[in-house]
Amino acid sequence: MSTMLGLLQAIPYEALLIQTLNGIVTGMILALIASGLTLIFGIMDVVNFAHGELFMFGAYMGVVVISATGSFWLALVLATLIVALIGAALQITTLRPLLGRDPLTTILATFGISLVMQNYALWQFGPVARKIPEPFSGQFTLFYLEYPWYRVLIAVLSAAIIGGFYLFLKYGTYGIWIRATTQDRVMAEAMGIPVSWVHTAVFGIGAGMAAASGVLFGPLVGVNHAMGLDWVLKAFIVVVVGGMGNLGGSIVASIFISLLEAYASIWVSPAQAVIVSFVVLILTLLFRPTGLFATPK
C-alpha cells in the first residue's frame, strides 16, 4: 500500500500538466503542417519533401513583413498568401509535368526543391537565426511556471485554421471538388472539375498552411534555413501513423505523438524524446501498416 502511495506521489503531476499543454501546442502546429502534407499526398500521390521548406519560407516571410510593417498579424496573413502562391507556382512548374508518373519521381523532384529553397534561404538571410517577436507578452501562472498566453493562442489559432479548412472541405463547392478529385481523379474530370487546377490549388493551400504554422511557431524558436527539416520529418511520421492521405488521422496522430514526446521530455532531453515518435512509427508499421488511425476499408 505504501509503495503504491509512494509511486503515486512520485508522479510529477505538475510537470505532466505543463507538458500536456506543451504537447497540445506543438501538436496543433504539427497538425497544421501535416494536414497539408497528407492532403497533397491524398489528392495527387505527391510526397512533398519540400513541405518543411515551405514552413521555413513562411517563417522568413513573417520576419520580412514584420520588419517592414511591424505587424505580426499582417505578417501572418501575407506570409500565408505569398507562400501559397509560391507553392502553386512550384506545383505548376515541377509537379504538374510528373502527374501520372511513379510517385517516387515526386519525392525526387520535391527533394530537389527543398535543396534549392533551403540554400536560397541561407544565401538570402544568412546562417544567423532571426527572431519573430511575440505579438503580445502576457503570461499566466501555471504551478511554478509563468506560461505565456501566446502559446495558448498558437494552439487556438491552429485549431481555428484547421477547423476553417475542414468546413471549407465539407461544405464549400471547391471543398467538394477537392474531395471528389481525391477519390476519383478521372471521374472528377468527367464531371467538369478542372483537376489539374484543383491539384495546384491544393498544393497552394498546403503550402499556405505550412507557412502559417511557420509564422505562428517563429516566436518560440529562432527562424533559420534548416528549421523545416525536423518538422518535415515529424510530419512524415505523423502522416504515416495517421494513414497516408487521411486528414483526420494526421491531426489525431499529430497531437498523440506530440503529447508522447512532451511527456518523454520530462525524463530525457527533447532531442532524445524524438525517439518516442520513431518507436510509435515502427510499431505502427509492424501492426497497422495502413495507419494507426486509418478507417479499415
Binding site: W177, R179, A190, M191, G192, S196
Partner: protein, 245 residues
C-alpha cells in the same frame, strides 16, 4: 429533329479514330455519329472497344489519329472537364460514384459551376429527385453505401446535373435486378423525350434495340455494321454473327 431533309450537323461525330492504351492498339478507325436528341446503341462483344470509344469521345483517352467533333467543332484534344462543360455527360461502366461523398455532394460536383443560379440548381435537383425518388430519401447518405441499382441512378442523375446535350451511357443495366433494369429503360425514354441524345453501350440487346433509333455493331476495334434499330430483330443472323456466344 426537324422533319425536313436539310442536313444538320451531327451532335457528336467520331471520324476514323485510332486509340491506343500504351502499345496496344484498341480502336482501329472507329467512325460513328449521334444526332441531337437521338438514342444510338453501340453493340458488340466484350473487349471490342465500346467503352474505349466512349472514353475517347469524353476526352479521357486521346486518340493517336482521327477526329471527334461536337456540334461541328473539333474537340479531339480538349480535356474532359471542358467537354463536360460543353454538355457531354458520362456514366461509366463501373458507375464510379464518389463513394465517400454523400448523394447530395455527388450531385453538387456537376451542379456547382459558373453561371448557375440557385433557382436553376434547385430546379435540376427537383427534376432528378422526381425521376429517382430514392435518391431524395438518401441525399445525406454516403454514395458508397447505396445499392448497385441506386448507384446507377445516382451516376445518371449526376450526369444530368451537367444539363448535357448527350449522355454517354456505359452498360447501365449491368448486374442489376430486372425491376431496376426496367427503371433504367424508362429513364432512357424520359431523357429521350427531353431531347437529350444518348450513346448507349449495352450487352442487353433487346433493351438496346427497343430504346435506340439506330445501332452500331463493333468488332475488333472497328464498326462493322450500322442500321436503324428497327431493321434488326433479336434472332437476326447479324446479331448471331457479331454478338452470339
Amino acid at each position: 429533329m426537324t422533319p425536313d431533309a436539310t442536313p444538320i450537323e451531327p451532335l457528336v461525330a467520331v471520324e476514323d479514330v485510332h486509340t491506343y492504351y500504351g502499345k496496344s492498339h484498341i480502336l482501329h478507325g472507329v467512325s460513328l455519329h449521334v444526332d441531337s436528341g437521338e438514342v444510338v446503341g453501340l453493340l458488340g462483344r466484350n473487349g471490342v472497344g465500346k467503352s474505349t470509344t466512349l472514353k475517347t469521345i469524353m476526352g479521357l483517352v486521346h486518340p493517336h489519329r482521327g477526329k471527334v467533333l461536337f456540334a461541328g467543332k473539333p474537340i479531339t484534344s480538349l480535356p474532359a472537364h471542358k467537354l463536360a462543360r460543353l454538355g457531354i455527360g458520362y456514366v461509366p461502366e463501373d458507375r464510379r460514384i464518389f463513394r465517400l461523398l454523400t448523394v447530395m455532394e455527388n450531385l453538387r460536383t456537376g451542379l456547382d459551376r459558373h453561371g448557375m443560379t440557385e433557382a436553376r440548381k434547385q430546379e435540376l435537383l427537383e427534376k432528378a429527385f422526381s425521376y429517382f425518388p430514392v435518391l431524395a430519401e438518401r441525399r445525406n447518405q454516403a454514395g458508397g453505401t447505396l445499392s448497385g441499382g441506386e448507384q446507377q441512378m445516382l451516376a445518371i442523375a449526376r450526369a444530368m446535373m451537367l444539363e448535357p446535350k448527350i449522355i454517354l451511357l456505359d452498360e447501365p443495366t449491368e448486374g442489376l435486378m430486372p425491376r431496376m433494369v426496367s427503371q433504367i429503360r424508362q429513364i432512357i425514354d424520359v431523357l429521350h423525350r427531353e431531347g437529350v441524345a444518348i450513346l448507349l453501350v449495352e450487352q442487353n440487346v433487346p433493351l438496346t434495340l427497343e430504346a435506340s433509333q439506330r445501332v452500331y455493331i463493333m468488332e475488333k476495334g472497328a464498326v462493322r455494321h450500322h442500321c436503324p434499330a428497327s431493321a434488326l430483330k433479336i434472332g437476326d443472323p447479324l446479331i448471331q454473327q457479331y454478338l452470339g456466344v
